[in-house]
Amino acid sequence: MAVPTDVIPRRPTLLFIVVLSLLFFLMSVSSRTRYVGETRTMFERTVMTVFSPVPKFVNWVGGTLQDIHHGYVDMRRAVNENVDLRRKVGSLTSENLKLRQSASDLRRLRSLLAYSEQFDFETSMAQTIMLDTAGRFKSIIIDHGSADGVEVNDVVANANGLVGRVVLTTKDLAKVQLVTDNNCSVGSLVERTRRQGVVRGTGGSLVQMLDIPSLADLQPGDRILTAGIDGIYPKGIPIGAVVRSEPGQSLFKTITVKPAVDFGTIEEVIVIHTRKIPPQVVRYTP
């Protein structure tokens, strides 16, 4: 907007001098009051008040931007930290699993070792490398063979009980017939009553105990052990527990036994190198 010509002073220099004088006076007052405690004049305070929204706004914007920046930086840091922590969690979880596995292995091996110490026979530890427990002919392959002293008819057990016997050996491997195999028979006895009988595989997951008279005392839950009378299995290895005992059609009971070993989970086994009965003695055995 143009200043009207008639209101423009003719002598701006005079106006300039007046303005400068006023400013000088104002400055003098201001500099005097600065040293007596009152650091701001009323006029100065008014100018500050009028324009104060600008610095406030700038400060607010700056603060907000700083907050956003810090928030972003913190978030980035948190994200990186999170990624690192997740990596660590993964690594620790894996390590933990390995340690748990080792602890479990150790427990199992300790129990096997303690179990093997029950026998007078020489024993060796072997690892199962193949399991054929689903078919009718139940067997497993272990990683010890004739080179390790494993012979046919060596007994195989684990910490829970009887697994079976060795039926074939090679130099490095051995095939073990499980007690659940259809062709497997084990001389056995009832732990509580010492009644002897024969446990025979059925090809299923359970086995049967034969030759127990109908009048014999036998109850579900009774533990069945090897009797040590068949020339192969040493005495006292748990075979399983009676789950069903029914009077048979003849003089004997029909007894169903659940094996003590879960054959689906066999890992380490003990091979018990039993004393073999000489063939000539076997030949004359009735």
Binding site: A2, V3, I8, L23, P55
Partner: protein, 168 residues
């Protein structure tokens, strides 16, 4: 319109002042945005308007600095008056003329402040010569940048927009 532009410029200068004070407290030792604004306005040759612009801009600068209130108003008014008086007679135009006026105004501004503070108030300004040199260079650079931007975006020579219709 001229006063509106001045008001906007004053708010921008104060914003810059606040911004630098908040984040780079020493930056205002290197350049003075208020001088740029006042000289830009005074190039129009309107002496009265230039005096008013100098007083207003100086008051704002004083209000938000720790200087005695009126110190910058005084020095800026002197600069504005000198530049406006010259332009009322010579009608200088172009970036070079603006730069020359701005450079001279920064020197005058600092000298006036030096005289007022050092001689009249008996206070000493440390490293005055170095500060004067640095402030002149940076204010000049920043002022030329602002001038070019305004010319570019307003599509006219900004000084023409502030030029009074009444010549002195």
């Amino acid at each position: 319109m001229r006063w509106l532009r001045f008001a906007v410029g004053l708010l921008l200068a104060l914003t810059l002042h606040s911004l630098l004070d908040s984040f780079y407290p020493n930056a205002l030792a290197f350049f003075n945005p208020y001088v740029i604004l006042v000289i830009y306005y005074s190039m129009g040759g309107n002496v009265l308007g230039a005096i008013a612009a100098g007083v207003l801009a100086g008051f704002v600068q004083d209000a938000f600095s720790n200087a005695p209130f009126g110190l910058h108003a005084f020095s800026l008014t002197v600069c504005a008056y000198v530049v406006a008086s010259i332009n009322a007679r010579l009608a200088l135009r172009g970036a070079l003329a603006f730069g020359a006026c701005l450079g001279g105004a920064v020197v005058v501004n600092e000298l006036v402040i030096y005289v007022l503070v050092n001689i009249l108030m008996k206070q000493r300004i440390e490293m005055f010569e170095q500060a004067l040199l640095v402030k002149t260079i940076f204010t000049l650079l920043f002022g030329m940048l602002v001038y070019q931007l305004l010319t570019l975006f307003l599509r006219e020579e900004p000084i023409a927009a502030t030029r009074s219709k009444t010549a002195w």
